[in-house]
């Protein structure tokens, strides 16, 4: 079948991202927006835009019946769920398909299987996938779990079975701490997910978060688009992602990527997905989980492979064969992504608010900005604090980092405090530049990631710029009267 009109059941940068690809494919787009979000650019860029009304998320972006009603009325023949919101909701996928609309994503069965942390591990164990030593069973008594923790060997990680985003997670270093940590994890899990089941895992010291992008069609083709290194995280939220993973031996890269593709094949997956692994400093890797959606960090493989993942998603959803084979996919050069968020890293990472006066745009070749905001829009505290993603590509890692630093200077996000300066400190850190990344990088290097002191001599040009802008109105006439030929030329160029 041919997809002619896609409703995007999402907002912000990912909705904008889907609209861009759909447009190049000659497909119409339908945007939806909550009333408190009507200023967001995604609601202005589509061919049609419909209001979800007011209220909490369950009344708007999570309101399945309202979204389906808009889809029917607007004649959408497919729905793209983006990431977050309803993207990994099996019931939504089923409701969409029952309404005779194509769901641009995996089957409800795959979402359900991989959404369950215990079930997913049991399922992939069959495909000779390395599993981290742990307990993934259904017994939940404290004494039994404490015994399992001793068997696995400390340090041990307690995780919520239905969890994500670090909720209900505890690291336990010794037997004596176990009972208290278990109680804490269970109460957090129960509050966050309405389910207090936990699983136990061996805790890997200085672990790396390595994930593999997979893409499957409905004709038995299961491809991988190589690995991403996403170890720079804070409280389990990724901040910087890149590909290739630095310092990975070729045989390890091949093995981890082939393992991910084998999982996709084993569960007869459909569409775009990500298989996450935890990797020790010894390059041993273990299956963590599979995300059954397009990821925030999908531009990273796009830049090194030259493939448009949203386009491939749409082709697969339309029932077409993937237009290329594994041998056609090359990992060319290096790509890196930074998440620009409305938060203040030097004040406990508290969310910040305000109006985005000026975003700016990166000018370097191979630099891309995926933004969910445009100049003059207010940062909406009801939604994710991520404002944009900046992605750079270069022939090698250090040049990709240099390009990122240069681009961060151009993407100013004036009017709102962002984590931009913190991103620069991370990118400039000697250990990061050397590729010594692991998931504890941020807490371990907290002292070196502090802001520059106001006494640093490098602030002099900034002070000059400020003093200049302050004096501009007062001394404007005087300055004109005493212009040198050089400044006159500068004025001429205006």
């Amino acid at each position: 079948m041919k997809i002619k009109r896609i409703l995007i059941a999402n907002r912000g940068e990912i909705a904008v991202r889907v609209i861009k690809t759909a447009r190049t494919m000659g497909i119409d787009t339908v945007a939806i927006y909550a009333e408190d979000d009507r200023e967001s650019p995604h609601s202005r860029l589509a061919d049609e835009a419909h209001s979800l009304g007011e209220g909490a998320l369950r009344e708007t972006y999570l309101n399945v019946s309202k979204i389906l009603e808009i889809a029917r009325k607007s004649g959408a023949d497919a729905i793209h769920p983006g990431y977050g919101f309803l993207s990994e909701n099996a019931a939504f996928c089923e409701a969409v398909e029952k309404a005779g609309i194509v769901f641009i994503g995996p089957t409800a069965e795959a979402i359900r299987l991989m959404g369950d942390k215990i079930g997913s591990k049991v399922a992939v164990e069959k495909f000779q996938v390395p599993m981290i030593p742990g307990y993934h069973g259904s017994r939940q008594e404290g004494d039994f779990l404490a015994g399992e923790a001793r068997r696995i060997g400390y340090p041990v990680l307690i995780k919520a079975s239905a969890g994500g985003g670090g909720k209900g997670m505890r690291i336990v270093h010794a037997d004596g701490e176990f009972a208290e940590a278990l109680a804490g994890a269970k109460s957090e899990a129960s509050r966050a997910f309405g389910n207090d089941a936990v699983l136990l895992e061996k805790y890997v010291t200085q672990p790396r978060h390595i994930e593999v992008q997979v893409m499957s069609d409905t004709h038995g083709n299961h491809l991988h688009l190589f690995e991403r290194e996403c170890s720079i995280q804070r409280r389990y939220q990724k901040i910087i992602e890149e590909t290739p993973a630095p310092g990975l031996p070729d045989d390890v890269r091949r093995s981890v990527c082939e393992t991910a593709a084998a999982i996709a094949k084993g569960i007869n997956y459909r569409g775009a997905g990500t298989v996450e692994f935890i990797m020790g400093q010894d390059h041993k890797f273990y299956f963590l989980e599979m995300n059954t959606r397009l990821q925030v960090e999908h531009p990273v493989p796009e830049l090194v492979t030259g493939l448009d993942l949203v386009r491939l998603q749409i082709l697969v959803a339309a029932g077409e064969k993937l237009p290329l084979g594994q041998g056609d996919i090359r990992q060319n050069g290096h790509a890196i992504e930074c998440r620009i968020c409305a938060e203040d890293p030097d004040n406990g990472f508290l969310p910040t608010t305000g109006t985005v006066q000026r975003i700016g745009s990166p000018t370097a070749l191979g630099s891309r900005l995926d933004a969910g905001y445009s100049d003059g829009t207010k940062v909406n505290v009801n939604y994710d604090p991520m404002l944009a993603k900046l992605i750079t590509w270069a022939p090698n890692r250090l040049e990709a980092i240099a390009k990122m630093l240069q681009s961060l200077d151009e993407v100013v996000f004036a009017g709102i405090k962002t984590n931009r300066d913190y991103l620069r400190r991370l990118l400039g850190h000697a250990k990061f530049r050397a590729g010594k990344t692991h998931t504890h990088f941020i807490p371990d290097h907290a002292a070196e990631l502090r802001p520059l002191a106001a006494t640093d001599a490098g602030w002099a040009p900034h002070l000059a710029a400020l003093l200049l802008s302050e004096g501009r109105t007062k001394t404007a006439t005087a300055a004109v009267a005493s212009q040198t030929p050089w400044t006159a030329l500068g004025g001429f160029r205006n």
């Binding site: 608010t353 200077d409 002191a453 002070l463 710029a465 400020l466 050089w486 500068g490």
Partner: protein
């Protein structure tokens, strides 16, 4: 002319010299600086220092970005971002729900100690004591909704 500025929350004092043509001159931390304005197009600025080095900056009169760093300037006397102490009270940095109250009236607390946990934007935020002191009053209980800027705790400081 002495000028006091607040750069990324810290006070900076410069001695601004009279403007000479298209240049700005000042002394700061015992050193003299002179930056010549080569180009000024909207918010984009190119300066040249005394040694001929070029500095490309973006400035809107409040935020100055360039050379891999952000300088955020606030008017002198503006409340410092950190601490958020108002008349001995600690305030909610954003709207949310009180998730946990960890102290009671009369408790002695140390600087940096978590007093309350606020749940907002799907995350938990610790409200910490900015300095040593004694809790005079806790103004909210667990589960209550608070608005941004609401005083949460009254802290008596010695």
């Amino acid at each position: 002319m002495k000028r006091e500025l607040t750069l990324n929350g810290s006070k900076v004092e410069v001695d601004l010299l009279p403007r000479d043509g298209g240049a700005v001159s000042f002394t700061w931390q015992g050193k003299s600086y002179r930056f010549e304005v080569l180009q000024q197009e909207g918010e984009k600025l190119v300066l040249r220092d005394g040694e001929g080095r070029l500095h490309r900056l973006w400035s809107n009169g409040q935020l100055v970005v360039g050379e891999g760093r952000d300088a955020e300037f606030t008017a002198p006397g503006a409340i410092a971002r950190k601490g958020a102490v108002h008349g001995g009270g600690l305030t909610a940095p954003m709207p949310g729900k009180i998730f946990r109250v960890l102290v009671n009236a009369g408790d002695e607390v140390k600087a940096g100690q978590t007093l309350l946990v606020l749940e907002a934007m799907k995350m938990e935020h610790a409200i910490k004591a900015p300095q040593d002191g004694k809790i005079k009053q806790v103004l909210f209980s667990e589960g209550q909704q608070v608005t941004a800027g609401a005083a949460l705790v009254q802290l008596e400081v010695p």
